[in-house]
């Protein structure tokens, strides 16, 4: 039966996958154009109509009710294409699965089908200026009014896709008298509700793939709670678990100036590939890249054999960032001054500079290197936790972020 499925997927993709020039940037890469967005929605709708969206999700809510085996087959076949599904990554990889896990029947019936068809895109509203690695210290407040509705005020940051999302999964503080992990609640928020303001957030590369989202007395109905009131931390952990899986699965597919292959070519073009010192640097970079690739392949084989990577995925994340930093160093050595000034219109110059400028994200976004080392130490090696000074204190009495409260 799975053989038939593979052929179906392969045939469908061969017919419907867009050519690479229809490329849609991933949510975390840069903001898509209206046109790219429309093309992505069309593709996702076609995927849904072909019975290839939400493979493992319940059939009752628009999914296909299949197993991880079919999902794996789809991914293997899709690996040959550059599908324009980046803008749905958060919807499909994080918000949707969390709704499947924790949503009410009404929520799932209302939200999952249009999510799967690409009609409604979701974003994730956790991080705040004062709450990055320490998400649970967030300050956005949701206060219940007499009618049982919630009124939300606060600011979120680093929100991918907020500019085109119809809905968001919002984490807000509903009980400031509880300790910090206890007084949070997760909500479905309509991104077009009055009081929601989305502003692009420019990052150090100069582009604005992220947003800041401001909530000014935004009204949310009582039935928009995901999971239980004041049990938002558990819901967030559920969602972040789905995030880790999606991050680990991503691959560098398109031209990347920071790979060994690219930098070796730069060295050849500049005529410095024979320099023994640069040759050694390139070989070391290759070794670093290769050992990470082999680690990922081994994690995959272990996973296929039934040993899920879990927190060990942090090793790949950490090593990935380290390889990139090493590549930045080697890029300077092989490209020389060309890495710092180039002619307008020289797209390889633009690409190299963008890659150098984007590298810090690798060791910050999705959990800093420091956070990854903590995860490995705590969860993989079982080392004792640091003493926590914020566990037993009502949130109201805690200092957080850098802001006056």
């Amino acid at each position: 039966m799975t053989t038939g499925f593979r052929e179906r997927v392969r045939d469908w993709l061969a017919e419907h996958a867009p050519r690479s020039d229809d490329h849609v940037p991933e949510a975390s890469e840069s903001a898509p154009t209206e046109q790219q967005l429309a093309a992505a929605r069309r593709f996702q709708a076609a995927l849904y109509d072909a019975g290839l969206a939400g493979l493992t999700w319940p059939a009752e809510y628009g999914g296909q009710g299949l197993t991880a085996a079919e999902q794996q087959i789809f991914q293997e076949e899709a690996a040959a294409y550059d599908l324009p599904t980046g803008v749905f990554l958060i919807s499909m990889g994080m918000c949707g699965p969390t709704l499947v896990d924790l949503g009410t029947h009404e929520q799932k019936a209302r939200y999952l089908p249009p999510l799967l068809r690409g009609e409604e895109i979701w974003c994730q509203l956790f991080s705040e200026p004062g709450a990055g690695s320490d998400v649970a210290s967030l300050q956005t407040r949701a206060v219940r009014d007499a009618a049982g509705d919630w009124l939300v005020t606060g600011q979120k940051v680093w929100t991918s896709g907020a500019q085109y999302a119809g809905f968001g999964a919002l984490l807000a503080r509903t009980n400031p008298d509880a300790v910090k992990h206890r007084g949070l609640t997760m909500f479905v928020v309509d991104m077009h509700a009055p009081g929601v303001t989305v502003r692009p957030l420019r990052d150090m590369t100069g582009s604005a793939p992220f947003n800041e989202v401001y909530f000014d007395d935004v009204r949310i109905p009582a039935d928009a709670v995901i999971g239980e009131v004041d049990a938002g931390w558990a819901a967030a952990v559920t969602m972040l678990g789905h995030e880790r899986v999606s991050i680990g699965g991503s691959v560098r597919r398109r031209y990347d100036p920071m790979t060994f292959d690219s930098l070796r070519d730069v060295a050849r073009v500049r005529g410095v590939a024979d320099d023994p010192v640069l040759r050694a640097e390139l070989a070391e970079l290759y070794a670093a890249e290769r050992k990470l690739a082999l680690l990922n392949a081994r994690l995959q084989q272990q996973s296929d054999a039934g040993l899920a990577p879990g927190a060990r995925g942090s090793v790949a994340k950490l090593a990935g960032a380290q390889v990139l930093w090493q590549a930045v160093r080697v890029a300077g050595l092989v490209a020389g001054p060309r890495a710092i000034a180039w002619d307008p219109g020289d797209s390889s110059g633009d690409a190299l500079a963008l890659a150098i400028t984007a590298t810090p994200a690798s060791s910050i976004a999705g959990g800093t290197n420091q956070i990854q080392r903590g995860i490995i130490g705590d969860r993989v090696l079982g080392l004792p936790k640091e003493p926590r000074v914020d566990r037993d204190v009502p949130f109201r009495e805690l200092r957080v972020g850098t802001q006056a409260r």
Binding site: S127, P129, G130, G132, S133, D134, S137, V157, W158, L201, R202, D203, M204, G206, R270, D275, V277, L278, E281, W325, V328, G332, L333, G336, P337, R338, A339, I340, A341, W342, D343, P344, D346, G349, D350, A353, I356, T357, P360, A361, S363, I364, A365, T368, N369, Q370, R373, R388, V389, D390, R391, V393, L398, R399, V400, G401, T402
Partner: protein, 364 residues
């Protein structure tokens, strides 16, 4: 060998720092950076000139201060800390030192008073399109045309080129002086938005040949002094990043306590401090050597770039990392120091090139 500043030198740094705090805050740097023009704060430049900063190494006879490299490095460290958008490295360092090394009195008389007064700026064109220091000699051809010379070809990576009144060119037949306005400039795109560079295109550009027995020797002398000066800028950037990062680590609370109380952050800050302290010692040694022990300068200057180049970049990168997400935003200044540090690390050659220079100086 003196590795600490005297009172006068400390005072000099204080006054430049105060000037920059008033007139070159980050907001001002960003205004100049966003401007499509020449990328220079002319008003600030004039203020520096008024204080006598633009002609520190110009002899008093030519209207300069006749001071030493240590003093100039004190100023450069402050300019580097503020990312001040002024043509100091190009005009008050590279061009001034080239004129000094050429030793041609009439050239000095013609250029130095204007440079020292900050009324005119000059740039040097020494790299060809491949970027190697000195490779302009392969890519710019000089030909005699009656009583004067004409230049043809291209030079690249010319810092502050388009805004310069004069351009000193290292061409196949030695050193030439061209009028800035007579050169055809193609502004480059740059990693560092606070430092402009351009490609110079010469198409029969009229130029004056500067008599010089050893053009390559002059080029070397300029490199050594530029390496020391750039290291001072790099040190200034390191100090500023360290101070900002420590301040942030004290203020930012995470998991109920300041992040600076976490060993991961505290120990990283300690490493930055250790790197910065060693960089200080190397820089002041190089500056002192430039003033007092010219024979030892090739080693000291190469050492300065071997140490300061990567140290300044690593510091900028670590400072950004320790700021977390906020450091990755355009709004925060961390990225400006990051881009400047990578640019400076490669401006006079790569760290591997500098290491090879050091090895040469050590007779390895």
């Amino acid at each position: 060998m003196r590795l600490i500043l005297d009172e006068e030198q400390t005072g000099l740094g204080d006054s430049v720092r105060a000037l920059l705090a008033d007139h070159c805050p980050p907001q001002r740097v960003r205004e100049v950076m966003a401007d499509d023009g020449e990328g220079i704060d002319r008003r600030l430049w004039t203020q520096l000139a008024t204080l006598g900063m633009t002609g520190l190494l110009v002899p008093e006879a030519s209207g300069g201060a006749g001071a030493g490299h240590v003093e100039r490095c004190v100023v450069l460290a402050e300019l580097g800390a503020a990312l001040a958008p002024v043509p100091y490295l190009s005009s008050a360092v590279l061009a001034t030192d080239t004129v000094a090394a050429l030793g041609d009195d009439s050239l000095a008389e013609e250029l130095l008073p204007g440079i020292a007064a900050g009324q005119q700026t000059a740039a040097v064109a020494v790299a060809g399109t491949g970027g190697r220091w000195g490779s302009a000699a392969d890519s710019v051809q000089a030909a005699r045309d009656g009583g004067h010379w004409r230049l043809a070809g291209e030079a690249a990576f010319v810092v502050d080129g388009p805004s310069a009144d004069h351009v000193l060119v290292y061409a196949d037949h030695g050193w030439f002086l061209a009028d800035g306005g007579a050169v055809s400039w193609r502004p480059s795109r740059t990693l560092d938005p606070t430092r402009r560079m351009a490609r110079a295109e010469f198409a029969g550009t009229s130029a004056r040949r500067v008599p010089c027995g050893d053009p390559a020797g002059v080029l070397e002398a300029v490199w050594h002094r530029a390496a020391v000066a750039l290291a001072a800028e790099q040190l200034g950037g390191m100090r500023r990043v360290l101070a900002d990062t420590v301040e942030y680590a004290k203020a930012r609370v995470q998991f109920g306590r300041p992040i600076g109380s976490q060993q991961a952050v505290k120990h990283a800050c300690a490493d930055l401090y250790a790197s910065c302290e060693q960089a200080e010692a190397v820089l002041w040694h190089a500056a002192w050597t430039a003033d007092h022990d010219p024979a030892a300068l090739p080693e000291a200057a190469a050492l300065a770039q071997v140490v300061l180049g990567p140290a300044a970049f690593d510091t900028a990168a670590a400072g950004l990392q320790l700021h977390g997400g906020i450091g990755y935003t355009w709004e925060h200044d961390a990225h400006l120091y990051y881009k400047r540090a990578k640019t400076s690390e490669l401006l006079l050659g790569t760290p591997a090139d500098h290491r090879a220079r050091l090895a040469d100086a050590l007779c390895l």
